[in-house]
Symmetry: C2
Subunit: 346 residues, 2 copies
DNA sequence: CTGAAAGCGCTTACAG
DNA sequence: CTGAAAGCGCTTACAG
């Protein structure tokens, strides 16, 4: 039987269309569309609803996303633009987004080379997909200017860019200040800072909040003690190895890193150099990746709630895509310092 | 930006269409399509090519992906189905895929809850997007049976499933055997194995190759010494903590983990229990994540080439999507053991 | 070389 | 409540 065969191999055989369902149910395609989209209230008789549903399940019909998107003017795709997914932090953000988006929306990842954001042309290509909404993680202002999109848009981890769009941010400054206080209490007076090369706001905020509070507490960070690398263990390790001899001569006793990934590289190289941690050199990072608890020594880090970040951003976007107003367009999630052995003797 | 425009729905309203380009260039939309798609050879005059190109750049026209997909019957979307992206290993795979796919294709991530694969219904929803191709990472056979898709499809890390589709695999068995040999040489006779709960082939292969070679070399792994958890530091830590008292009584001296992530959890808990590593307990994993070099102690692991895996899979899929035959439908990439302090005294 | 026209599959006013 | 019909934006035979 034809229909039985199609049921068995729905993806291999000819595509099932609304017209086929309509023919089988003895209704028009308009009615099929109404039923398939759950817009039957006061528009389709109970009997027809039943017949269409039966035909749909018998044939294994699924609304074609492309035809539907063209007719509606918008697809079910949500684009997540992010500068770096190699950071394990980001995997958690994605997990959160997926969870809040549910099965109605498809997540399309727009990833570019380490730290780079797509430019106007790439953005246009993305918009050609008619996304239902956009999620932009850790953007820089230049990218948001290029973007200039009017549809549903939520920013993640974009401090200082609240004027562009609804955002979900992390109060990294709070954790950064705790870290400065912690190092001051431990007696450090000269610190170095290993930043990320990407000019994204969150990294600037981490650095500035830390350095400001450090200064308040009598800690100095000489300009030559502030360097940047890509978010990569090896790159951070190499940069630290090159800088350390001078830093050591100049009395640096602690290195703060923009991400834990940087910190792992510094840790690795510091151990190669035979430094006693934290006695000769204290090391700390941001993100509190799962690996920071098991590193050697375990890494002091500013904990950032990655999964909740993705979750909240997805929820906000979802409201926007459903046409609702946001009661609270700006959300901020907590951060806090987790002290471990890389700054505090066991 | 004009705030009034942003208030509206520019995603839907201000769209530049082929008709607008055609009007401006004084040609038909058919000619615009030909030029925009680079199919002009012997079909469009030089003069018209010039005029259309000019109009395209003046208006900032981009071919609408939805309309184009509907007309062609296929989109420019490549779907990557994967059971787990929280593993940092996977971020590298994605990076490799993105690189080989280039800018002609958009990468859509189909992620599900930890270790779960989408079932028939979800697959149908995905196929409704009319993807240009499918990449499936670490699938189980049940999923591939459900899939039954006819279009371009490449499997990643799917040992034993070569009959379903072209695949790019990792020779995890080789590294697993090296690991067994290494532990045997170090004098271990009773080992435990912490597996992943997902029934994916690569994990079964890791386990079986390891256990077979272990047995060859006089190492036993009692059934009660083989457990499974999700790929999660905390879950592995808890499972190990619960099992260790019995294992210790029964003489286990080494724990091999299906992934480094599991191993970090075991490492963490072993240190909490005050075990001397590797003297009282040796620990090893698979994946060789960047963090394994900096853990405490550094982790012995079977190195797997994640980025090349994504890269090769993307290249193969690309050939398929361009209508070519694959000269080599089955590719296998190397793995090898990296010995560190968790199994070998510093 | 060129354009008019027929679709691709769906949704949505619209008239009944 | 229902269906015929007009699109959505594009591509591709097809006739000229």
């Amino acid at each position: 039987m034809d229909s039985a065969e199609q049921q068995q191999h729905p993806l291999r055989s000819r595509r099932i269309t609304a017209a086929m369902v309509a023919a089988r149910a003895g209704v028009s395609t308009a009615t099929v569309s109404l039923v398939a989209n759950g817009k039957t209230a006061g528009r389709v008789s109970g009997e027809n609803i039943r017949r269409v549903r039966e035909a749909i399940s018998e044939l294994g019909y699924v609304v074609d996303s492309v035809g539907s998107s063209l007719a509606k003017g918008v697809s079910s795709i949500v684009i997540l633009v992010a500068p770096d997914i190699s950071n394990p932090f980001f995997a958690k953000v994605i997990a959160g987004v997926r969870e809040s988006l549910g099965t109605d929306y498809q997540l399309l990842l727009s990833v570019t080379e380490a730290g780079e954001f797509p430019h106007a042309d790439d953005v246009r290509k993305l918009m050609a997909l008619r996304p239902a909404g956009l999620l932009v993680d850790a953007p820089n202002a230049g990218f948001l200017d290029d973007l200039a999109v009017g549809g549903p848009l939520v920013l993640l981890d974009a401090p200082g860019m609240e004027s562009y769009a609804p955002s979900v941010n992390l109060d990294v400054a709070h954790g950064a200040r705790e870290l400065a206080a912690h190092l001051a209490t431990a007696g450090h007076r000269k610190v170095a800072y290993v930043d990320s090369v990407t000019g994204t706001a969150t990294f600037a905020l981490r650095r500035e909040a830390f350095l400001a509070e450090a200064e308040n507490r009598g800690i100095t960070a000489d300009p030559s003690h502030i360097i940047s690398t890509t978010i990569d263990v090896g790159a951070a390790a190499a940069a630290f190895a090159a800088a350390w001899p001078q830093w050591q001569r100049e009395g640096v006793t602690a290195v703060v890193c923009g991400t834990d990934t940087h910190a792992y590289g510094v840790l690795q190289e510091a151990r190669v150099a035979g430094l006693r941690i934290p006695d000769q050199l204290a090391i700390a990072g941001f993100d509190d990746l799962p690996y920071s608890a098991t590193s050697n020594p375990s890494l002091t880090s500013v904990h950032l709630p990655a999964t909740p970040l993705g979750l909240k951003a997805g929820e906000q976007l979802r409201r926007l895509m459903e046409g609702h107003e946001l009661k609270q367009p700006q959300l901020t999630l907590e951060s806090s310092l987790v002290v471990r052995n890389s700054t505090s003797p066991a």
